[in-house]
């Protein structure tokens, strides 16, 4: 089969979606097919541009190239998944979130700040309702994304879990005195919540944060909070780390703190499980809740500094339980049989 993977993104910005597209391409090739990524540039500001880009996608013809038929198209992201094709399958990473669950989110909402925001939001929703069902099959990244698609667009879709990149390289080592918190630094990942929780911990809990800030001001805000709360000796900002360093940080941690707002999926959870580490997440964190079983493979706290502090204190003080939860997480990952083979088999069926 000749397979095109359609995605969209912001030029010069590389994140989980780009890695996923590349991993999918590689997995399709390993399965004996030919695959390429078509990445369309996407600009959400000003909002009036969004409808232009939707139309641009609709006008693309990818049914063949130089007389050679494209057998299958896999759409991943808005608006690239709107590109028409008679044999399109959508594997939805997420819809345009600020037109949906993040519309009025205090930190993540962007469309809501524009006068034309509501009509652009409604146009996106209408197009999704009308055009996503064009696909021969619809899958999503996670049960959380499926639930949102059902809730907002009335469309049913089966979740297809995929493994993190280089899943086989994650390993376990003896736990040292820190929790690991790897993520881009932004309000939705809620590093600030972990910092505020640290200030309330009774145990001498330490956290090592890895990842770059989306905006320098967000990192500066976190650093300022740490200084004001006098947590300098209990927080480390590692910045961007290599893949190997990341795996080492996981392996040596006591556990992983990951309390984002309504995460689509959350590779961090899976990477922690692969590293046999317990995960502390929050009741509104979305995707991680599909994997973290409270008090079995980690702890599910309320999204408050007090509750998160209590969860961190619990694991800090009870290393035996922390180790057991980490092992249970590794076993649960194995039980889920998450593999690229399963993903490719479904998408090319």
């Amino acid at each position: 089969m000749k397979v095109l993977i359609l995605t969209s993104g912001v030029p010069f910005i590389r994140g989980g979606a780009e890695i996923l597209a590349e991993s999918l391409r590689d997995a399709v090739c390993v399965a004996g097919h030919q695959a390429e990524i078509v990445a369309l540039p996407f600009q959400s500001c000003p909002p009036s541009r969004i409808s232009e880009q939707m139309l641009a996608c609709r006008l693309l013809d990818v049914t063949e190239t130089c007389g050679v038929r494209i057998d299958r198209v896999i759409g991943l992201k808005f608006p690239a998944y709107l590109v028409p094709h008679p044999h399109k399958v959508i594997w939805l990473l997420h819809q345009h979130r600020t037109a949906y669950e993040f519309w009025d989110h205090p930190a993540a909402g962007d469309l809501i700040h524009y006068p034309e925001g509501p009509v652009v939001r409604d146009a996106i929703r209408q197009a999704d309702r009308a055009l996503i069902p064009e696909a021969e099959a619809i899958y999503t990244l996670s049960a959380n994304v499926s639930a949102r698609l059902r809730r907002f667009s009335g469309i049913d879709a089966e979740p297809l879990y995929n493994p993190p990149a280089s899943a086989m390289l994650f390993y376990k080592d003896s736990a040292k005195d820190y929790f690991f918190f790897p993520s881009r630094i932004n309000p939705v990942k809620r590093q600030w919540l972990a910092v505020q929780a640290l200030a309330l911990c009774r145990e001498p809990v330490r956290v090592r944060f890895a990842g770059e800030a989306d905006h320098e001001a967000q990192r500066a805000e976190c650093v300022r909070s740490v200084r004001e709360l006098r947590l300098g000796d209990r927080v480390e900002w590692l910045g961007m780390v290599s893949e190997q360093q990341k795996r080492d940080e996981y392996a040596n941690s006591l556990g992983v703190v990951f309390p984002p707002v309504d995460e689509d999926y959350g590779y961090v959870t899976l990477e922690a499980m692969l590293s046999s580490k317990p995960v502390i997440t929050c009741a509104d964190s979305g995707g991680p809740l599909e994997f973290v079983v409270d008090r079995v493979t980690g702890l599910v706290a309320d999204p408050t500094p007090e509750s998160l502090a209590q969860a961190m204190d619990t694991l800090w003080a009870d290393r035996r339980s922390a180790t057991a939860m980490g092992e249970a997480g590794r076993a649960r990952y194995a039980d889920l049989k998450i593999s690229w083979e399963t993903v490719v088999e479904n998408l090319l069926r």
Binding site: S51, L55, R58, P118, V119, A123, R125, Q126, A130, L131
Partner: protein, 445 residues
């Protein structure tokens, strides 16, 4: 439903503030979560007991706060200073526009030429709706070559007020068909809301009026008195009847040119018969209307829309003289005395004579008008308004779709020969249609 309500509010000297807002807001706020947005310096304190009042700056509206509502409703009339701010918001933030006037040239001339000093925008608006004729007329108007009255009638610019709107509401059923043809958004006609006084109060007014029903009879002219309220013709007619001493005319409202009217009164020798009372506070309105015998409520040219003051006159059981034009022409026969624009002075004189001959017949006319108010229930208005808003919101994806279609068309025109662009336009049209309507385009759609 959460509603942003943009409207002149009491004490603004506007019929929308004094009549419409007072009549409708209690019913609307009783059923929905309403914020009344204003850029006025002052708002009547009692209003905050009915509805939440919030302030905005027309040049920097709080978009996030506005976007928390389900829909924004803009009450647009012809006064540039009163409605300019909310029109500015409506141009960027699509909502439902309630057209309190249908001829809005005066509004756009004031806002675009005098307040914003954007003559290019004024000419562009005329060209958009009336093509080359509109552009030429606009240029001539700017040089003083065409009168405001002529521009108002020939180039009302109604569509410009609803450009990019989710929907439009008129209070004139007569205008509905034309508006549906002209405007790009959905339109409905609703009866202007009015809460009629209860029967016991009405009987008190009636008794007071009947007891005092002898000459001199009290005539009233009410409201914001611009040139189209025909006060000069009323004065001419009054001066022209031999029985003029049997009338007293009370002019209550802001005059567009008080000096000019005073000169006319003096010229016609009406100084002892005509009183200029100015704008009346709410407390004096009841006193004036309950003791008046005949209201003169003329409009020519008509701005097209329903008159809140006409409903108020009917509420008091007052007989009225109205011009047979615009919304007034659709009033049921027998509920008002009609004046033909082309025979204005003659008709006014004839009606005044008829009144003197049979005041009871005119009182019966006022009573029939009062019965019409039953179809103006604010609760019905609120139901219809919110039903219409829900429908308009469902269709809101059409707004960016139309904008997109416009951009695609103008872009292609710049670089692609029409013969070559036909296929692309067809494809783009089909895709835009599918995206915004949620269904595939076919040739019958």
């Amino acid at each position: 439903m959460k509603i942003n309500w943009f409207s002149p509010l009491p004490p603004a000297r506007s019929g929308i503030a004094q009549n419409f807002a007072r009549q409708l807001l209690p019913a609307l706020a009783g059923r929905h979560d309403v914020i009344a947005w204003t850029d006025q310096d002052q708002v009547a304190p009692e209003l905050s007991q009915i509805v939440r009042v919030a302030r905005y700056q027309p040049n920097n509206p709080p978009w996030r706060k506005l976007n928390e509502a389900d829909v924004s409703v803009y009450n647009l009339g012809n006064h540039g200073l009163i409605h300019g701010g909310m029109w500015n918001v409506s141009q960027r933030h699509a909502g439902i526009v309630i057209l309190h006037d249908l001829c809005l040239h005066d509004f756009f001339a004031m806002v675009l030429l005098r307040i914003l000093e954007k003559p290019d925008a004024y000419i562009a608006a005329l060209e958009r709706w009336y093509g080359e004729d509109g552009r030429r007329a606009g240029e001539a108007f700017r040089k003083g070559g065409i009168s405001p009255e002529c521009m108002t009638q020939e180039f009302p610019l109604t569509g410009e007020a609803t450009r990019g709107a989710l929907g439009a509401i008129t209070h004139s059923r007569r205008a509905l068909a034309d508006l549906k043809e002209t405007l790009a958004c959905p339109v409905i006609a609703l009866e202007h809301p009015y809460v009629a006084a209860d029967e016991s109060r009405h009987h008190q007014w009636l008794a007071a009026r009947t007891a005092a029903a002898r000459p001199p009879y009290r005539l009233v002219v009410f409201g914001y008195l611009s040139r189209n309220r025909r006060l000069e013709a009323v004065l001419e007619a009054l001066a022209g009847i031999p029985e003029r001493e049997q009338f007293r005319l009370d002019v209550c409202g802001e005059l567009w040119d008080e000096g000019h009217i005073r000169t006319q009164i003096e010229r016609l020798g009406l100084g002892s018969l005509v009183k200029l009372s100015g704008f009346l506070p709410e407390s004096l309105v009841e006193q004036k209307l309950s003791t008046a015998d005949l209201a003169i409520n003329l409009r020519f040219p008509s701005m097209g829309e329903a008159s809140g003051s006409q409903l108020q006159f009917w509420d008091y059981g007052l007989p009225t003289l109205v011009t047979r034009t615009g919304w007034y022409a659709s009033l049921p026969e027998g509920t008002a005395a009609f004046v033909r624009p082309e025979y204005e002075i003659e008709d006014i004189k004839a009606h005044l004579g008829a009144f003197l001959a049979n005041p009871g017949a005119f009182r019966a006319m006022g009573e029939r008008g009062r019965q019409v108010l039953k179809s103006h229930d604010p609760e019905k208005y609120v139901n219809a308004l919110t039903g219409f808003a829900s429908l308009a919101l469902e269709l809101s994806p059409r707004i960016p779709a139309l904008e997109l279609a416009g951009r695609v068309g103008s872009d292609l025109a710049q670089w692609l020969h029409p013969a070559a662009s036909a296929y692309l336009l067809e494809r783009a049209s089909r895709e835009i249609f599918t995206m915004c309507e949620g269904k595939s385009h076919d040739r019958n759609s």
